[in-house]
């Protein structure tokens, strides 16, 4: 069975500061890795994904995540956050393409001016 752990339930940061949201997973087989974001009063949106190839993946709004197989991690980083990044972020894995997603508990990112 697979599991995902997001180590921080809440992360408060000031605008323009760097941020890292941590995600570790457990699986006996290879997995695909995802970060989803849920803005207030909206559904989940895919932020970025790792399927294969380069272990560093980037989103269009400046987030990046690096797949580290030896540490079974997929931490999400942004060098300078904006107020608009305030949202809840979910790390997820799946073992087959098109299969179910297994989510972590979520991390609430709160960006303050």
């Amino acid at each position: 069975a697979q599991s995902v752990t997001q180590l921080d339930s809440q992360v408060p940061v000031f605008e323009e500061a760097p941020v890292e949201l941590r995600c570790n997973y457990s699986s006996s087989v290879s997995v695909y890795l995802f970060w989803y974001v849920q803005y207030p009063n909206q559904g989940l949106q895919l932020l970025l994904k790792y399927l294969s190839g380069s272990t560093l993946v980037e989103s269009i709004n400046g987030f990046e995540a690096e797949f580290n197989k030896s540490q079974t991690s997929f931490h999400l980083r942004k060098p300078s956050v904006h107020i608009s990044d305030t949202a809840e972020y979910f790390c997820a894995v799946s073992v087959i393409q098109g299969g179910k997603l297994i989510f972590g508990q979520g991390t609430e990112l709160s960006v303050k001016p």
């Binding site: 009063n41 909206q42 559904g43 989940l44 895919l46 393409q97 098109g98 299969g99 997603l101 508990q105």
Partner: protein, 115 residues
Amino acid sequence: EAGVTQFPSHSVIEKGQTVTLRCDPISGHDNLYWYRRVMGKEIKFLLHFVKESKQDESGMPNNRFLAERTGGTYSTLKVQPAELEDSGVYFCASSQLLGGYNEQFFGPGTRLTVL
């Protein structure tokens, strides 16, 4: 193009009553998924339809939950009778059925409160 829609957005019912949640996937998406988030916990998978067939229902908590997708279009999730622990946000997602990776697009969720 319309996204995944869910109805109702909120539902408040008494313990023992029945509630039916509806999900309309993106047109042309053969994969449809139901997930649930109980307060303060992770989002958990409930089941997966491919067209009208149940591909994986390993996450359904018990036989009080019944999911259908007649005709392979919209889906309903019925809870009968509802219990207090069924409270939470129910998400629906859909994706295409093509080779390789297909992104799951999520609806806004239905918040269910059982009193």
